[in-house]
């Protein structure tokens, strides 16, 4: 019995770390650019698909893990230059509608390219197999997932806290005007930040791929979860994305064996409750 709970808990942590990566990207984009990206889920699924293709071509998962997120980030950079930069000044609701359109296009393009049925990606040979501790069995890949995502998270944290780029992003979240007065090319900062945020969703997609494969219609579901995490954790908060992601991941995992629909009800109910009672979430600031 305890083993089952531990199993689900670890699953939840793994899922939670993936949610963290997606959410932190969303929150960075919102924090600096004050931009609501409804296409975030679509870029996630794109990451999974590009992982599939990269593995199909090179036969190497690790290469895919490197390449796919970069391609996603590059694509995001292009979209930002072409379209997103035109709509920063528009109210959030317009941003939502435009990125909704982008999400639709990405979703349908994925089906066009890769077909309507999902693709499966094999767990890399190095990570196949299970860890056995006494009676407890747990897949290596899922452990790797937790560790690798944590590593990315740490890298991101260092980037934001210890580098000049990170300082500019954080400062820009407070006041873009001041930052541009400091001589920074604010437009390049925006593009890079958007690409970074979306690239993180891409990484999450790649990591997720060996678990559930690449599916064309998961965009809205992932987007929904990402927003739940961001709301609960607090818009613009790194720590919030981490804590929120883990919370949601664990709850979802634990509930899935008991009552799957209940999990979704609880999660969205929690989102509504947070918005109503404490809109800045756990760690967000006014």
């Amino acid at each position: 019995m305890l083993d089952l709970y531990l199993f689900q808990l670890l699953n939840g942590l793994g899922l939670g770390m993936i949610y963290f990566l997606i959410a932190v990207g969303l929150t960075i984009i919102f924090g600096l650019l004050n931009f609501v990206n409804f296409a975030h889920g679509a870029f996630f699924l794109l990451g999974a698909y590009l992982c599939y293709t990269a593995v199909a071509i090179t036969g190497n998962f690790w290469l895919a893990l490197l390449i796919a997120p970069l391609v996603v980030a590059a694509l995001a950079w292009a979209v930002e230059r072409l379209l997103i930069k035109r709509i920063y000044h528009l109210p959030h609701t317009f941003q939502i509608l435009v990125t909704l359109g982008i999400a639709l296009i990405i979703q349908e393009a994925s089906v066009l390219i890769w077909g309507p049925v999902g693709k499966s990606i094999a767990v890399p040979p190095e990570l196949r197999g299970v860890l056995i501790v006494g009676d407890f069995i747990y897949p290596y890949y899922r452990l790797f997932l937790i560790g690798f995502a944590a590593l990315i998270g740490l890298g991101l944290w260092l980037l934001l806290e210890r580098t000049r780029f990170g300082a500019l992003v954080r400062a820009g979240s407070e006041s873009t005007e001041t930052v541009s007065l400091l001589g920074t090319n604010i437009f390049r900062l925006f593009s890079l930040t958007f690409a970074l945020g979306v690239g993180l969703a891409g990484v999450a997609g790649v990591l997720f791929a060996p678990l559930r494969g690449a599916q064309p219609f998961v965009g809205p579901e992932i987007l929904g979860i990402a927003f739940v995490v961001v709301v609960i954790g607090g818009m613009g908060s790194f720590g919030g994305a981490l804590v929120g992601g883990l919370l949601v991941g664990v709850v979802q995992s634990m509930m899935t064996s008991l009552w799957p629909q209940g999990a979704s009800l609880m999660i969205y109910g929690a989102m509504a409750a947070v918005i109503l009672v404490r809109p800045y979430g756990l760690f967000g600031r006014a």
């Binding site: 609701t93 509608l97 909704l100 359109g101 349908e108 969205y268 109503l276």
Partner: protein
């Protein structure tokens, strides 16, 4: 956005209603089937209701699918289990829709901007999963089958047989005209003018004495009632109330129709619904990935053509007409605030 100018000019209402009437007559003649024409009208109703929130009050709601689905389920259950007739079922659907809208609206308007939007999104998801779970009532994933389409009868005698698609179209068309005329009246009333004020500048509206919460909740309820009726009609059209009526994609579709047609224009709802439904019907045969086009259209309309199809037509009309002294009408700006 021509209908944004709230100064009502007596001459315009009859002209607009005539335009609607003409469209209603033309629709089944132009389209391959009465069923398709009916579908357009049903979604035009939903888009109209969405417009009351979005175009006139400035509220972007991702929850319209909730009311659509509840109207469909509600009417279906009333007809199947309680053997209610056409008008009572529609009334029931309107009541259910209004009631849900009261719940959703009262909670959602406690927040503004992006948080309001996300609340409607959260409620929409919750409604979907509730509908999935309560499969005893809703049929869950399978939906409700064998939804009847009652005839219009008095004391057991059939007045109008609605099984014939063409008869049903006429019935829905009459309903549409009545609701359209009603909505027009509401827009032109003190209540309607206040909605516009709230959209333009809510702080100012409150400062001059309006309790904006009351207005928002009321327009939500009106929107919910109309959307509920639309959902009920849809269930009767298909003889089927699927789960998809209440999912997020339905809310998104309704929003897209509203925007493409032209937010802030009631007639635009008809245009938008017509365009999207026809596009979907025609294109989905040729190209299953037609949603890509929809995505592109949405982006183009929002970024470049805020007035939607109606705005585009109005522009065209202005260009084609020979120049007149603009004595009485100041053209309303296409600047829009959401």
């Amino acid at each position: 956005m021509s209908e944004k100018n709230p100064l009502p000019v007596k001459g315009r209402t009859p002209a607009l209603l005539l335009l609607v009437l003409a469209s209603l007559v033309a629709l089944p003649l132009v389209l391959p089937s009465a069923t398709l024409a009916t579908e357009i009208l049903i979604f035009a109703l939903a888009a109209l209701a969405c417009n009351l929130l979005l175009g006139y009050t400035g509220l972007l709601s991702f929850g319209q699918g909730i009311f659509f689905g509840v109207g469909a389920y509600g009417a279906a259950l009333l007809m199947i289990h309680l053997k209610w007739g056409m008008f009572s079922a529609l009334l029931g659907a309107a009541v259910f829709g209004a009631f849900l809208a009261l719940l959703v609206g009262a909670l959602a308007i406690r927040r503004k901007g992006i948080y309001f939007v996300m609340l409607t999104l959260a409620f929409s998801q919750m409604a979907y999963f509730l509908a999935y779970t309560l499969s005893g009532w809703t049929g869950g994933d399978n939906g409700l089958l064998d939804v009847p389409r009652p005839n219009i009868e008095i004391a057991g005698h059939v007045l109008v047989d609605l099984a014939d698609p063409r008869h049903f179209y006429v019935f829905v068309a009459v309903l549409f005209l009545l609701i359209f005329a009603g909505a027009l009246r509401v827009i032109r009333s003190p209540f309607g003018s206040t909605l516009l004020a709230i959209r333009e500048n809510e702080t100012r509206a409150a400062a001059i004495g309006y309790d904006t919460r009351h207005f928002k909740i009321l327009v939500f309820m009106l929107s919910g009632a109309i959307t509920g009726i639309a959902g009920a009609l849809y269930a009767m059209l298909l003889h089927f109330a699927p789960l998809s009526n209440i999912d997020l994609m339905m809310s998104e579709n309704i929003l897209i129709m509203t925007i493409v047609g032209g937010t802030g224009s009631l007639f635009g709802s008809l245009l938008g619904a017509g365009a999207i439904v026809v596009l979907g019907d025609v294109l989905s045969e040729l190209w299953p990935r037609w949603l890509m086009l929809l995505g592109a259209i949405l982006i183009l309309v929002v970024v470049f053509m805020r007035g939607g199809l109606w705005g585009g037509l109005a522009e065209l009309g202005k260009r084609l007409r020979p120049s007149r002294p603009s004595a009485d009408k100041i053209p309303a700006k296409t600047k829009e605030t959401l």
